[in-house]
């Protein structure tokens, strides 16, 4: 009985806090994406040769963990299959946050754009089963800085 109550409390707490945090995060992401839109992040490996840019590695990394509600929903999804929608928003936020952090770093260097942008994802809960459901999303690229300023 106590377990059930604990479960329900965790579930509603996870839902309430998780939803609140997610909404707030998305608002912040949209706002910062708008602000940094003038700094393009390009996937191409061939940067423009003119002018002669200085190059620097820029990275942005985010570590995310799921809330109790999302984990429960995903566990239920395991039974039936289909889109694990509860994790989709989480990973979308992590990717966009990482890219933004990378761009922020580039902007601080005065870069004109970032080339050869790539993502890496690493699970940091390997071997621990369900105890931690965390992953890291790393975005990195080559910042091109115009030496003329």
């Amino acid at each position: 009985m106590y377990n059930l109550i604990l479960f329900l409390v965790l579930l509603s707490l996870g839902y309430a806090v998780g939803q609140f945090a997610e909404r707030r995060h998305y608002r912040s992401i949209l706002q910062r994406e708008e602000k940094l839109n003038s700094l393009p992040a390009i996937a191409s490996r061939y940067p423009p040769t003119e002018p002669h840019y200085q190059q620097a590695l820029v990275t942005g990394s985010t570590v995310v963990s799921v809330d109790y509600f999302k984990r429960f929903l995903a566990a239920l999804r395991n039974l039936f299959g289909g889109r694990v929608t509860s994790y989709e928003s989480l990973l979308d936020r992590a990717r966009r946050e990482s890219l933004l952090r990378m761009k922020q770093q580039a902007a601080a260097m005065g870069a004109a754009m970032v080339f050869n942008v790539k993502y890496e994802t690493a699970s940091i809960s390997k071997g621990r089963g369900n105890s931690i459901g965390s992953i890291e999303v790393l975005a990195y690229g080559t910042a091109l800085i115009d030496p003329r300023g």
Binding site: Y15, P40, F69, L73, L76, R77, F80, T85, S86, S89
Partner: protein
Amino acid sequence: MKYRNPRIPEGINVSDRHPLKELFVLAGGALLLLFLLSWLLGQFGGRLARLLPFEHEAALAPVSLLRNDAGPELQAYLEQLGSRLSEEMALPDGMQVHLQMSGDDTFNAFATLGGNILLYRGLLEQLPHENALVMLLAHEMAHVEHRDPIVQIGQGAAIQVTLGLLIGDPNLAVLGSAGLYTQLHYTREMEREADTEALVAVQRLYGHIGGARELFNVIHAQRDKSGREEMPAIFSSHPLDAQRLEAIGDLARERGWSETGETTPLPAAFGRWMSEAAARAAKAKEEDALKPGLPISPASPAGRLHPG
């Protein structure tokens, strides 16, 4: 060449389906599956358990839980009623019923594995005549004849073991749990069939079924007195009293049975037998209290049977 990042519309990588809606659909589906699985397992376990020969069922009987407080005279009287009923009910060969009586004042009686039937003083004392006692015995013996105890335990065991394995926490000691034997909860169907069988036996024995109605009246009165919480064991909520009495009336009309008739009184010494049993129970309880760690007596609070 001009480089720029176009604005990508929202909602491509993320589904806008409400998480609560998803939760209800998924959890509902999972619960439905669980119920379906439990039901199927129960059916399977019950069928399997029915195949167990009666002699082997006796080996599983919770003998240590059944302390008999009946004196030799009462025991002989009960056994004589029991053997008359066995004949009328045509119990299969080898199906031996063991009647036992507890001196506790619990208002209860139940049949459990191995043909063991336990009657409590609390219920026996309130029976007005032998006919009602015979109806009670016949009802419990019908449970034994229908193999209801083992079927119930088989169903419970199949569900518990399989779900336990699924969840990853198998509680395979399913047959070791003491409460299981005394808290058997028969289905409405089982109770109804036991009622019918018992009525047939009572009719054959006495030529009328007056005793049956009396028994239900006693139970009904007890229920009124103690409220729904303290449901007496054998005639618990399945089927409800009113429906049950109605079913008796229907059956009597259908088969042309008389619902009234001359009743046989209980033996004159019945009251004395009861107080002797009560004294024996009190003594046993005292001894139990001196020896900690002994198996719980069936009259402990767990002895409230078929709750709900």
